[in-house]
């Protein structure tokens, strides 16, 4: 039995990990784009981005996931997500990417605005272009500033993947829960918790190391 449960949970973990990593890959750059949008000198764009961030942060992720997964089928009469597990995971990643990009953008903006104005000016008087200033000067200083708040957000993402269960994606929590339903046993739920703890534990170590790597400057 223990072996059976372990195998099922490993399967669930694979899906959880897939949602997690794909969301990160898409939401990190998108978050930066949204951050730039929210700092744009072009007011209409800034307002548009502010409203988007407000809506995304102001409504539950679970609700967003339901709307994104079922919405197209109901409005268009045709499900744009394929009906299988892959389709459910894709829809989850889309919903999570949108949601997390908005949260990341606020952190990124804080990080960028936290870099002293003098740094930009020093780059300017040395004849650097705006993109050189961003990539050679601002970016690393921003990264150093955002690592602690980002690690918080990314750890939350690990656990938010369990929301994918609402559209029946077979992720880790779903896997543990199904044993309770089918066999009436509860210990797999605690075992599931151990999987999350290990996942987050590894992430915590990675973030510590990144912070340490960036300690060489202040």
């Amino acid at each position: 039995m223990f072996w059976n449960v372990t195998q099922s949970l490993m399967n669930g973990l694979a899906t959880t990990f897939e949602i997690f990593i794909l969301t990160l890959i898409f939401a990190l750059p998108l978050g930066l784009v949204v951050a730039f949008g929210s700092m744009s000198k072009f007011k209409p764009l800034r307002y548009l981005v502010d409203v988007l961030v407000w809506i995304i942060r102001g409504t539950p992720l679970m609700l967003q996931l339901i709307i994104i997964f079922y919405g197209p089928g109901l409005w268009l009469g045709k499900n744009i997500w394929s009906g299988d597990e892959a389709g459910r995971i894709t829809a989850t990643v889309v919903a999570f990417t949108l949601n997390y990009a908005c949260y990341f953008s606020v952190i990124f903006r804080g990080g960028i605005e936290g870099v002293p104005k003098g740094q930009r000016e020093a780059g300017k008087v040395l004849g650097m272009t705006n993109s050189q200033i961003f990539f050679k000067i601002t970016l690393l200083q921003m990264v150093k500033r955002v690592v602690p708040p980002m690690s918080n957000e990314i750890i939350t993402l690990v656990k938010d993947t369990s929301l994918a269960r609402i559209i029946a994606a077979y992720e880790l929590t779903f896997a543990g829960y199904s044993f309770m339903k089918s066999a009436g046993i509860t210990w797999p739920l605690f075992y599931t918790g151990v999987f999350y703890l290990l996942f987050v534990g590894i992430l915590t170590i990675i973030f510590k190391q990144i912070e340490k790597k960036l300690e060489y400057f202040r």
């Binding site: 000016e121 020093a122 008087v125 004849g127 650097m128 050679k136 690393l140 060489y216 400057f217 202040r218």
Partner: protein, 261 residues
């Protein structure tokens, strides 16, 4: 002919006139000191020369070439201002060194970025980078910092950081080196080493503009002195004459207040 010609510069922030019709010129190899109380517009004037602020009116020319003319929009394009800035080097009050780079990297960064635009960069990459590092090392040596070249800014004292910043400003060989209160953020015992370096540059006939509160230093080092108050040049001329025998009432008041501490 003057290397720098500034004519009728005006700058407003919202409804405040920070610079009102400022004109002056500077000869090659001369050092110009600008004194005045805070809020008099000295720093804004320097920032206008570096195009960190765009003047609302006026003309700036270097070596006879009009860099900026507020009445000709074509001279105000951001893209061109980027390279026009290179006529001026800038040393900031708060150093503004890049914290993630060593002293040497701070000095060489801009030069390396410009080198990437050279057509022969790909083939001669190593050679070019070696040359740039050598140049950076020489500048740090000139600042008395050769042993600190691999230190990060936070490992250096304020005076050392400011000397790195001076080396960085010199790296792109500007025509005119600008200092914005270079010792104001320093502990008193550290100002000496920075002033010594600037004095050395003056002896080598570096063309400079120094905004400063160090009156004795301005008097000794500069060839020309400007006293500003409330956005205008009140008095300018020979530094000894202006400081020892000011003609204008406002200059006298400022200097009296200053010497009384």
């Amino acid at each position: 002919m003057a290397i720098l010609e500034v004519k009728n510069i005006e700058k407003n922030f919202d409804n405040t006139k920070v610079l009102k019709d400022v004109s002056f010129s500077l000869e090659e190899g001369n050092a110009l000191a600008i004194i005045g109380s805070s809020g008099s517009g000295k720093t804004t004037l320097l920032r206008c020369l570096n195009f960190l602020e765009k003047p609302d009116k006026g003309v700036i020319s270097v070596k006879g070439e009009t860099l900026f003319d507020a009445s000709i929009p074509a001279t105000m394009r951001d893209k061109d201002l980027r390279t026009k800035r290179l006529h001026f080097g800038m040393v900031f009050q708060s150093f503004n060194l890049f914290p993630q780079y060593t002293a040497l990297e701070n000095v060489t960064l801009a030069e390396k970025l410009f080198a990437q635009e050279r057509p022969d960069f790909r083939q001669r990459k190593k050679e070019i980078l070696d040359e740039i590092n050598e140049h950076g090392n020489a500048l740090l040596k000139q600042m008395g910092l050769e042993e600190r070249k691999d230190h990060y800014p936070h490992q250096l004292s304020g005076g050392q950081q400011q000397r790195v910043a001076i080396a960085r400003a010199l790296a792109l060989k500007p025509d005119i080196l600008c200092f914005d209160e270079p010792t104001s953020a320093l502990d008193p015992e550290l100002t000496g080493e920075v002033l010594k370096v600037i004095r050395g540059l003056a002896e080598q006939k570096t063309t400079m503009i120094i905004v400063t509160h160090e009156m004795a230093f301005a008097r000794d080092v500069s060839d020309q002195l400007i006293f500003m108050d409330d956005g205008v040049i009140v008095e300018q001329g020979d530094p000894r004459q202006v400081i020892d025998n000011p003609r204008e009432e406002r200059t006298k008041q400022f200097l009296t207040r200053y010497t009384q501490g």
